[in-house]
């Protein structure tokens, strides 16, 4: 019992600290946004210029990276050209040998040998082509996954701001509910009581916040898939899918905890009435 009291007290302090921290972060976020939108202060201007400079260096390195990729692609295409030329030479050689063989042997056998040679040559060509295609695709995938980020698009910029604000709000509300739960529990424990209607309400609110968080996350991914036409986002969605399932599990379990707590609360109220 004493241990639980200490634990609840500790968690209350922890969540209170988190709440204060979240409030400060929120304040900084709001001031930052006001500063960017309305303020013509020199410092803001300077930081903006600095930001632009880093962006320029970023884009320069990005360009150099693109140049490297272009060079690599040129090498690949040169290699492909050489490959095709040597393949052509080989095919010509095979044809020459076949014609020589045709002169000296049975006509039908020679046709069969020639066909077989051509099939083997074609298969080898297809295999090489596939391998080259694979390398080129990998190169392009690498480029799209690591470099081509649509940071400059207006949609992504606005969406990022909305995402930051909304996720911050949800986290803030979540921490506030946790703080309320442990604050109330801390008070109740002193009176040797454990069940209270406001805790049940907070638990329910926490569940709803979780649902909103999940829906928002999924809708962001879906919006990205529609507005930014990249197959990468689909891959991102499938990769994060386990996280979403885990989140659904957590929400369901939280909902059941709230329901069981409600039963306890009813029992507590009944007991009070009986007494």
């Amino acid at each position: 019992m004493k241990n639980s009291k200490r634990l609840i007290n500790g968690l209350y302090i922890l969540f209170s600290g988190s709440f204060i921290l979240a409030s400060i972060i929120g304040l900084i976020l709001i001031i930052g946004m006001i500063g960017v939108v309305f303020c013509d202060d020199e410092e803001v201007h300077e930081s903006y210029v600095e930001y632009q400079k880093t962006k320029e260096t970023d884009s320069l390195t990005y360009k150099s990276r693109l140049d490297v990729i272009k060079e690599e692609l040129n090498d690949i295409s040169a290699g492909m050209k050489d490959g095709y030329e040597s393949a052509e030479k080989k095919e010509q050689e095979i044809e020459r040998r076949d014609s020589m063989a045709m002169k000296g042997s049975n006509y039908h056998d020679s046709i069969a040998i020639s066909k077989n040679h051509k099939i083997v040559a074609r298969e080898a060509g297809v295999k090489t082509g596939r391998e080259i295609a694979k390398i080129v695709t990998n190169k392009f995938n690498l480029t799209s996954s690591k470099e081509i980020r649509e940071e400059d698009s207006a949609y992504k910029k606005n969406m990022n701001r909305v995402e930051i604000i909304f996720i911050y709000l949800l986290i803030f509300l979540g921490i506030r509910e946790c703080k309320r739960i442990f604050e109330k529990l801390n008070m109740l424990v002193r009176k040797n009581q454990w069940f209270c209607y406001s805790i049940y309400k907070s638990l329910l609110r926490l569940t709803y916040i979780g649902i909103v968080f999940l829906v928002f996350k999924i809708s962001i991914v879906v919006c990205d898939m529609f507005f930014i036409n990249t197959p990468l986002e689909i891959t991102g969605f499938t990769l994060d899918f386990i996280d979403y399932i885990e989140m659904i599990f957590n929400i369901a379990i939280l909902f059941i905890i709230a329901a069981v707590y409600k039963v306890g609360l009813d029992m507590h109220q009944e007991q009070e009435l009986t007494i």
Partner: protein
């Protein structure tokens, strides 16, 4: 309560299926472990994530930060020097993909420990949700067995923390002379595992509130 009845049944079913799947997976895992130890399959990569004690800007500075996300890595294990690549996954985190035999044994041990703990964890969840499913019929929502199961879940979560922590400490101890981009770094266990302790505290509180519910029910039964 009616709203959550369906949810409880669904979760009970889901955890039961997970438990059965887990048992089947266990057989496969043991098979893989035996095959690897007996040398029937290749030595697999054992991925480890660490925090590094070093000024991170020193390692990840220069233009390479913008051009590539892979960094040259070298370390020695049992006196054998190995080279590899690490990825910049977080500001102060590096990932080592080790393919040595001793690393593989540690990886298998960690995997088996994690498997046993997660199976016990799922078993407790199955017990709790089956008991809650029964409660829909007999209206007894608070039972001592469930309280014990919730407590066991808390202890198992501590177990997860300890296993991960101990294995990371062992890795930190056996991996020597770790260099990232030519800069020597000191490895620390990944501090993400500390998050687990929060969860443990919350589970203990839930268990205690549940216990109070059990006591209330017992008192109510005595009153009637």
């Amino acid at each position: 309560m009616k709203r959550s009845n369906g949810l409880i049944s669904a979760l009970a079913g889901l955890f039961s299926v997970l438990y059965i799947m887990g048992i089947m997976m266990g057989v496969v895992l043991v098979g893989i472990a035996i095959a690897r130890l007996s040398g029937l399959t290749d030595v697999s990569e054992n991925e480890m994530s660490f925090n590094v004690v070093r000024d991170i800007d020193e390692i990840f500075s220069s233009e390479s930060k913008h051009i590539s996300t892979d960094y040259q890595l070298s370390y020695s294990l049992n006196g054998e020097v190995k080279n590899g690549i690490t990825h910049e996954s977080a500001v102060d985190e590096i990932i080592i993909n080790d393919t040595s035999y001793s690393g593989m044994i540690l990886g298998i041990l960690e995997m088996l420990f994690a498997y046993v703990i997660s199976m016990l964890f799922i078993k407790q969840l199955v017990n709790i949700f089956r008991s809650l499913e029964d409660s829909i019929k007999n209206k007894v929502w608070f039972s001592m067995a469930n309280y014990k199961a919730i407590n066991r879940i808390a202890y198992l979560t501590i177990g997860v923390f300890l296993v991960r922590g101990i294995f990371q400490l062992i890795y930190c101890f056996i991996l020597n002379d770790v260099f990232v981009n030519g800069v020597k770094v000191c490895l620390l266990p990944n501090l993400d595992i500390v998050e687990t302790l929060w969860t443990v505290a919350i589970i203990f509180v839930i268990a205690h509130v549940y216990k109070e519910g059990v006591q209330l029910r017992e008192e109510q039964e005595l009153t009637i």
